[in-house]
């Protein structure tokens, strides 16, 4: 763990250096190209900025109103059926909308039950195997200027579900 985290500190600076150095060797106008690319990056961010405001607005309303907690309660019987601690359900559902909020919910579980508990493990494994669906979808679609997403949402939901079911089974296996 120690070596892993100290190594990961090197990765990004070394990648940046390697790319710039390789560009220099290949006689690319590195600084000019960097500026050019960065400007393109800016344009994309400007394009997705309104999406972020819209999304954060909806997530906050859903969360602060207590609607997300109610939604969670609907899934409680299902949780009991598949031998999952009910406390994990909010983490998984929140992750669909926001990675940050889901992470803070997971940390709550770490606090309450410990990171090696069934609750902590199920949350950690499912968070590491899923992506925030609605966030990713709306930002990507906005970057492409697309309105009709066709089969994206159903397919993405199925794949997320597969990841969550696998996480629950693995965590149950580990805690047996």
């Amino acid at each position: 763990m120690e070596t892993l985290s100290s190594l990961s500190g090197y990765i990004i600076p070394v990648i940046i250096m390697a790319v710039v150095l390789y560009g220099l060797i290949k006689k690319v106008d590195v600084y000019e190209e960097f500026i050019d690319g960065a400007f393109d990056g800016f344009k994309v961010v400007v394009k997705v900025a309104p999406t972020l405001i819209g999304l954060f607005l909806a997530v906050r309303i859903l969360n602060d109103s207590g609607a997300l907690r109610l939604l969670t309660r609907v899934f409680m019987p299902v949780a009991r059926l598949i031998h999952t601690p009910a406390d994990v359900i909010p983490v998984v559902i929140t992750k669909l909308f926001s990675s940050g909020s889901a992470t803070s919910l997971m940390l709550n579980l770490f606090d309450l039950y410990g990171p090696d508990s069934l609750e902590g493990l199920t949350a950690a494994i499912s968070l590491s195997s899923t992506e925030s669906l609605f966030y990713t979808a709306s930002v990507f679609l906005m970057a492409a200027g697309v309105k009709k997403s066709r089969y994206v949402i159903p397919c993405a939901l199925l794949s997320t579900l597969a990841g969550v079911i696998a996480s629950i089974m693995i965590a149950n296996f580990l805690c047996r």
Partner: protein, 194 residues
């Protein structure tokens, strides 16, 4: 679809807030949410701008072609008919690699640029192309091999072996990605671009 989900989130939220008396926290929440979005945008300007610049150097120097080459078999399977010379193709490969090696933030710029390039190739249609759908579903299925931040959190909260999460996480990620790839493959065989 997204229209409906977004509207439902707001309508359900406000109705629940009124019924449960949480309207005050929603009232402050909406402004805070909008503010959070803007501060995320400012972060994104820095990170996306920085990585887009680095990416451009890698593209011009031909370094990008080296790593896109490694993914050729995977790309052929997932994006049949896409030219390996197109910008979209290179950006998709860059995104996949950045995701797999766990460079979370570095994966976003190529993803957004790839979507913008795919839109160009698709004549800026309002309907998502087949390749856009595949790429998006693949990203949502999570491609991350080592959940660095979760390992760090587990360490912080005193887990016996913080890194033991890697293998379970890998298996679960494989499950979601395999389902995503299979679904896309099956749909790609039948669906045409609208």
């Amino acid at each position: 679809m997204i229209n409906l989900i977004w509207a439902l989130m707001i309508v359900i939220g406000v109705v629940v807030a009124i019924l449960t008396g949480n309207i005050d926290s929603v009232n402050t929440g909406v402004l805070e949410g909008a503010e959070d979005a803007v501060s995320l945008c400012i972060t994104m300007f820095g990170v996306v701008g920085m990585w887009s610049g680095i990416m451009r150097i890698a593209e011009k120097s031909g370094l990008m072609d080296k790593w896109t080459g490694m993914l050729a078999p995977v790309m052929k399977f997932l994006f049949p008919g896409m030219s390996a010379k197109s910008r979209a193709y290179k950006y998709i490969c860059t995104n996949i690699i950045a995701n797999v090696v766990g460079l979370g933030w570095a994966a976003t710029p190529p993803a957004l640029q790839a979507m913008a390039e795919l839109a160009k190739e698709n004549g800026h249609s309002k309907i998502a192309s087949r390749d856009m759908c595949t790429f998006l579903i693949l990203n949502i299925s999570s491609l991350q091999l080592i959940p660095v931040s979760i390992i760090a959190y587990r360490a912080k909260y005193g887990a016996a072996n913080p890194a033991m999460i890697i293998l379970p996480g890998l298996i679960a990620t494989a499950c979601s990605t395999v389902v995503a790839v299979l679904l896309c493959y099956l749909i790609n065989k039948h669906a045409k671009d609208e």
